[in-house]
């Protein structure tokens, strides 16, 4: 057995994996941009994307037209970037929750944030604008994040016992309060009648709202990027916590502090994601799970891989929706697509994999 495998071997494998996934994301992004009412050649799309990197145009020159760039950057890029951010945020949060709860079936919504944010968003859309102090454009994401985080806060307070937050109580409280929030949301939708349809569509997740607007992205991007980066710092500790909280404490991990930090970061990232696009299911559950089968349970590679894979999945799904492949008349909610695409792939991995996952 080669001793060196730990040092260079693993770092090399991990770097290659990340590189490969980044490339995959780039290609899917370029494809996504090239599709639309104003057709753009793939090579031009790729160039425009690369051109966003500072200094690229100076070095390589631009082989695409100015008009194309404007169309893409103004119209399609916000949507693309949103999809990437949301996909990454959901996947990385899902991985964090799965590791912390030592349960491969956990997802970012397990603490009730989705149902809470859903309630806030729907309420914002259905209540009269005059009741709310902020302009409607910002109201919904704002309300959604606020109610989402508030829900998690309640769940946290309910679950806390004697200075510690046992994981089981968190999950149970999350389930209980989620149900309440969902029930309230359903009632709002029922009483809304016709207007409820739009709210429902948002609830299932959509990037349509982001088309042509950079406002959401400008707010959400720093939040998601910061949270994700900070989460990555806890990778090794997350590995140890995945063995068990008592064991982690015995191995020198400040369990309660790490739990609080990770829960907060993952919740904020998820809240930001939900605020942009509504509740997109499946990504936060299946992407980390599938990536674990591919790259292994070590969070130092699992977290970045999940982020990249989640982003790629959402970009592909959103592209399918924008291309009106499934429903020519209007846009399908993206949540319905993610499951359809993601599930067969996961089943394939499950069948192929000889390793015991659960």
């Amino acid at each position: 057995m080669n001793k060196r495998r730990l040092g260079l071997g693993r770092a090399a494998r991990w770097s290659l994996t990340v590189l490969f996934l980044t490339l995959l994301l780039f290609i899917c992004s370029a494809l996504s941009i090239s599709i639309g009412s104003a057709k753009t050649a793939l090579i031009d799309a790729a160039g425009i994307l690369l051109g966003q990197i500072p200094g690229f145009k100076q070095v390589f020159g631009a082989w695409w037209s100015e008009t194309q760039e404007v169309i893409v950057v103004q119209l399609r890029l916000p949507r693309l970037v949103s999809a990437i951010l949301v996909g990454a945020a959901l996947a990385i949060s899902g991985a964090v929750f799965q590791g912390m709860f030592r349960n491969p079936l956990a997802d970012p919504y397990v603490l009730g944030i989705a149902s809470g944010a859903g309630l806030g968003g729907v309420a914002a859309m259905l209540l009269s604008p005059s009741l709310l102090p902020i302009g409607l454009v910002y109201t919904r994401p704002f309300m959604a994040s606020v109610t989402g985080l508030f829900t998690i806060f309640i769940v946290y307070m309910v679950a806390r016992t004697g200075g510690r937050v046992p994981v089981l109580r968190l999950v149970l409280a999350g389930v209980a309060i989620s149900s309440l929030m969902s029930a309230l949301t359903m009632q709002l939708l029922f009483f809304a009648g016709e207007r409820g349809h739009m709210a429902l569509a948002w609830l299932f997740g959509s990037f349509a709202i982001v088309e042509g607007k950079w406002d959401y992205v400008e707010v959400a991007a720093p939040v998601i990027l910061t949270c994700s980066t900070l989460i990555l710092l806890f990778s090794r500790e997350l590995n140890i916590m995945a063995m068990g909280e008592e064991q982690a404490k015995h191995l020198g991990v400040d369990v309660e502090a790490v739990k609080k930090a990770l829960l907060t970061l993952a919740s904020i990232a998820t809240a930001a994601a939900v605020a942009i696009s509504g509740v997109i299911g499946f990504v936060g559950l299946i992407v980390p799970h599938a990536m674990r089968l591919v790259v292994g349970p070590d969070h130092r590679i699992l977290l970045p891989s999940s982020a990249l894979a989640g982003a790629t999945l959402l970009v592909v799904c959103d592209t399918l929706i924008r291309a009106r492949i499934m429903a020519p008349a209007s846009e399908l909610p993206i949540g319905t697509i993610t499951a359809m695409l993601g599930c067969p792939f996961f089943l394939y991995l499950l069948i192929k994999s000889r390793r015991v996952v659960i």
């Binding site: 057995m1 001793k3 730990l6 040092g7 590791g99 030592r102 349960n103 491969p104 710092l233 806890f234 090794r236 500790e237 590995n239 140890i240 995945a242 063995m243 068990g244 008592e246 064991q247 404490k249 015995h250 191995l251 020198g252 991990v253 400040d254 369990v255 674990r292 292994g296 349970p297 070590d298 390793r355 015991v356 996952v357 659960i358």
Partner: protein, 431 residues
């Protein structure tokens, strides 16, 4: 630690526990379930915060130190080694280096060396690439011990390290721990449930009961029959093993079943041909005062009686029962509270044993016959009917009865051992 108290809600799990462990000791924490030994261990490692009292490691309070600081000195091997995710063995052992690395530290050659050393000591280096969930119980336990060793601790704590292991793995682990203690100068504290394992390997024992320390000190001071009786409610015999030289505990019976202890009943067993041995064992375990007679010195019942330390009236081999032996047998029988006659074959040589039984019956002593009366004449009677006649005679008394097993016999007996008035019944056989 001094005067530690800890309570889960209203129940005091630990009450006034004071304990000092010296360097290099192999301390065994023993006690029945619920005695508080695991709670004590969790207080020692800082998982639980005692309501009263403190736990000091090298003079400093464990709870005042950061988790990483404690982890550099003290390592814990958990009882439960189930792992949700598929980490490799090497990954798991590498986690033991975390206290030395901190959150942002990177693993270096030095860490890999420490891990390799630990894994070679525990014999799991060849498993490094395997998934932890593929290993057997014993291998997993050794991996977790390796992880603890990778922390380079001074104190190693183990929570029931041998509970789920096969016998060979149990010995493997304990041998390994002893080796580590000696070579690596570790202090070992282990919660153990197996008294004999603890007696063999530990230098000091702590026996807990109901949240308190009942006994503490070297093995011979703690593993005493009276103390074990008090703590576990079991009557035991503590012996020194001729080969291993260590003390070992033999459970005899539980306190509940020792009915005779209260009554000090005397039982005289008339047996032979090996039929008495199981009966003698049961009676001695139940605490009766037992005597045996008359058996030949070559009879296995004689050996059993001698081994059990029971009074036995013997006769020379191949000789019929002499008058002397007969008289002594009669004395023993009439002094007893109960006579048990076993299903031995009766020939001219030991026919007089049945005479003794009959005589005792006529004096009102309870006589229990562990005999299959129906088949007796054809299978056990080698006296041409004399033995059967004696049996029939004795069955006329109402203080003589037949039973299938010793337990049935005991159940039928009035434990006060009264002597009943001998009465003859009209029916010769009541069955």
């Amino acid at each position: 630690m001094c005067g530690v108290e800890f309570a889960y809600d209203a129940v005091k799990a630990l009450d006034g526990v004071s304990l000092a462990v010296d360097e290099g000791e192999f301390l065994g924490l023993l006690g029945p379930n619920g005695s508080g030994k695991t709670t004590l261990l969790r207080c020692l490692t800082g998982i639980l915060k005692p309501k009263v009292g403190a736990v000091l490691l090298d003079g400093r309070e464990v709870l005042s130190m950061k988790a990483a600081e404690v982890a550099k000195k003290m390592a814990v091997v958990p009882q439960d080694t189930t792992t949700t995710f598929d980490f490799t063995v090497l990954d798991v052992v590498l986690m033991g280096r975390h206290p030395h690395l901190g959150r942002l530290g990177r693993e270096t050659e030095k860490d890999l060396e420490a891990v390799q050393r630990a894994m070679k000591l525990t014999g799991v280096w060849h498993l490094a690439d395997r998934s932890i969930n593929e290993l057997s119980g014993g291998e997993k336990q050794r991996v977790f011990i390796a992880r603890a060793l990778a922390q380079e601790p001074k104190v190693l704590l183990l929570d029931e390290p041998t509970t789920h292991l096969d016998l060979n793995h149990q010995l493997e682990i304990m041998d390994l721990l002893e080796k580590l203690r000696a070579e690596q100068e570790l202090t070992i504290i282990a919660v153990l449930h197996d008294l004999n394992l603890a007696a063999r390997y530990c230098s000091q024992l702590v026996l807990m009961s109901h949240g308190r320390i009942r006994a503490m000190g070297p093995v011979e001071e703690v593993l005493r029959e009276d103390i074990i009786r008090e703590v576990y409610g079991v009557e035991v015999e503590v012996r020194k093993h001729p080969i291993t030289g260590s003390l070992y505990v033999v459970p005899l019976s539980t306190m509940k079943s020792r009915r005779a202890a209260k009554t000090k009943m005397r039982v005289h067993v008339i047996c032979g041909g090996g039929t008495g041995t199981p009966v003698l064992r049961k009676l001695v375990m139940e605490g009766f005062e037992v005597s045996v007679g008359v058996v030949s010195v070559l009879d296995s019942d004689y050996e059993a009686a001698r081994a059990l330390g029971v009074k036995v009236i013997a006769e020379a081999p191949f000789s019929p029962i002499s008058d002397e032996a007969y008289i002594r047998n009669l004395e023993a029988a009439t002094e007893a509270d109960l006579i048990v006659v076993t299903d031995a074959p009766y020939g001219r040589g030991n026919l007089r044993n049945l005479e003794v039984a009959l005589r005792a019956a006529s004096q009102g002593i309870k006589v229990g016959l562990l005999i299959d009366y129906k088949s007796f004449p054809s299978t056990r009677d080698f006296t041409g009917g004399e033995a059967t006649k004696l049996l029939r005679e004795s069955l006329k008394y109402n203080n003589v009865f037949v039973a299938n097993t010793v337990e049935d016999l005991m159940r039928g007996v009035n434990l006060k051992g009264e002597r009943a008035e001998p009465r003859l019944t009209s029916e010769a056989s009541r069955l």
